[in-house]
């Protein structure tokens, strides 16, 4: 148990120390939130869908958590390169604990990033439909963070170099984001997009968040919750399995 805590703490310390990186990684979500939020608002309203800033805010918060948690998971590659991973792997601690400690730490920092963006959204005029939904929104934020940290760990345990990392960026992160319904409603999509959005894990996270915050979920909260919870368990198991197989 001690090991999980100290590795969690390590991730947090590293996060707090990388202030420049924190600010830099907030740039993109802010552009989405402000430029798209305000820019597409008139069109969105005219088509009878309401306020776009309100609609996109949960999507952008989810995006921030997605990017942040996937990258923290993949940070494993760096730890392997700079050697610190070895130090944890020879310690008399089950690998599962090491993986859990790292995952909890990465998920926590990803949630903090998401909350920072949420704060900016509030400053930009975003208001939850009811404050009663906020705890549920927290739950979804945590689930998104865990699911994608575990996915990042799986990828990071499998990849060995940077070329692979670029591939992951282009063929994993961006599709997950764009096919998640973070930017557009899930109803009335072309058939191909309907199918793709339904197999994208992030779809259920965004939808759950949207349901909790602005009461505009496409699926019921229960479906979102069950899907995300199952994914969290399954991906953590796969991540732990891959992590246990790392050879230095």
């Amino acid at each position: 148990m001690g090991a999980i805590y100290v590795l969690w703490l390590r991730e947090l310390k590293r996060y707090v120390r990388s202030r420049a990186q924190i600010v830099a990684s907030l740039g993109q979500p802010l552009l989405y939130l402000l430029a798209l939020g305000y820019g597409l608002s008139p069109v969105f309203r005219r088509s009878g869908e309401g306020n776009y800033l309100e609609f996109i805010a949960p999507g952008v918060i989810a995006m921030t958590v997605l990017f942040s948690s996937l990258f923290s998971g993949i940070q494993l590659i760096w730890d392997r390169q700079f050697g610190f991973l070895k130090e944890t792997l020879v310690a008399p601690v089950p690998r599962l604990h090491i993986m859990i400690g790292r995952t909890c730490g990465a998920a926590t920092t990803a949630m903090i990033q998401g909350l920072l963006v949420a704060l900016v959204a509030v400053l930009a005029g975003f208001r939850p439909a009811s404050y009663g939904g906020v705890p549920l929104a927290f739950g979804f934020l945590a689930l998104i963070a865990v699911v994608f940290t575990a996915l990042g760990t799986t990828v990071g345990s499998t990849l060995r170099d940077m070329q692979g990392f670029q591939m992951v960026m282009n063929f994993l992160v961006l599709p997950i984001f764009f096919l998640s319904g973070a930017l557009y409603p899930l109803a009335h999509l072309p058939i191909a997009l309907t199918v793709l959005t339904r197999v994208d894990p992030l779809t259920y996270g965004v939808d759950g968040l949207r349901g909790a915050l602005i009461a505009r979920g496409h699926f019921s909260a229960l479906i979102d919750l069950v899907v995300m919870a199952l994914l969290a368990v399954a991906l953590t198991a796969v991540g732990a399995w891959r992590f246990a197989r790392i050879e230095i």
Binding site: R80, F82, E87, V90, P92, V93, R160, M162, I248
Partner: protein, 262 residues
């Protein structure tokens, strides 16, 4: 304490460690000498549970590193050849994290960390992030960290790489003391023959993955008719420089450097 029988490790077709056997007794200081790429680090990785053997048996204090890995890890300490510090933590935090991972009680951990940091001249700069350290200081910190918990077996893979003579002297004095006073078994590799001569009870010379000779320093000298250990080493392994295909770790490090634009 360490018992290795017919150990072989392949990477694809390439045989890095070729059917080696040796034993290290409790309380012994045992040195592994060999040219670059001989298979020293690979052997240490297998003994320390980081790499499974392709074939052969290994026992550490009677335990199998592949099956009883956690129990084996609880008995060993290691100073790696490659860097393994967290550069974004301070020296103090690196030691504290290590102590926590090895279940050293908090109070004891602090005491020992202070003693070791003072011993290796890092106490004044303990709060600084490791990335601001010089190469030699990082090396000293790696060593201090490896000595923080009291292992039964200490693995030192080229611990003195890049160290000044003062620190080297400090290290070997400390290691000898640990060995004599606390009965710690030591398994070390080095390219400095004088160090092996000074501290090691027995020496194995390994080349191309095979042990070519094993005995005390005196025995190696007599059997090769040499005056010094260095001469004996050259007589056993030849004078040719080893061509080495860059290991994947090196390639990754190079890629990382390119990535960061340096």
């Amino acid at each position: 304490m360490i018992d290795v029988q017919n150990l072989t490790r392949k990477f694809g077709e390439f045989v890095a460690v070729h059917d080696i056997s040796f034993t290290v007794e409790r309380g012994e200081i045992f040195a592994f000498l060999g040219p670059n790429g001989a298979g020293k680090t690979t052997t240490i990785k297998i003994l320390t549970t980081l790499l499974p053997p392709t074939s052969g048996t290994v026992r550490i204090d009677g335990l199998d590193p592949t099956r009883d890995s956690t129990a084996v890890r609880a008995r060993i300490g290691i100073v790696f050849q490659d860097p393994s510090l967290d550069q974004n933590l301070s020296a103090w935090e690196n030691l504290d994290l290590h102590g926590a991972l090895y279940h050293v009680p908090r109070k004891l951990r602090r005491e020992r960390a202070q003693v070791l940091l003072e011993l290796f001249g890092l106490w004044e700069r303990r709060e600084e992030l490791v990335k601001q350290y010089s190469g030699g200081m990082m090396r000293r910190l790696e060593i201090a960290r490896g000595l923080l918990h009291t292992p039964r077996i200490l693995f030192l893979d080229e611990p003195t790489l890049g160290l000044d003579p003062q620190s080297r002297n400090q290290l070997w004095t400390h290691v000898k003391r640990l060995n004599q006073e606390e009965g710690v078994t030591v398994f070390l590799t080095t390219h400095y023959m004088d160090e092996a001569d000074r501290v090691a009870g027995r020496i194995a010379v390994i080349d191309h993955g095979r042990i070519v000779s094993l005995g005390t320093s005196a025995e190696l000298k007599t059997s090769t008719g040499s005056a010094t250990l260095e001469e004996a080493f050259l007589a056993l392994t030849g004078t040719e420089i080893r061509e080495e295909s860059a290991g994947s770790a090196d390639q990754m490090r190079r890629a990382a450097r390119a990535w960061r634009g340096r």
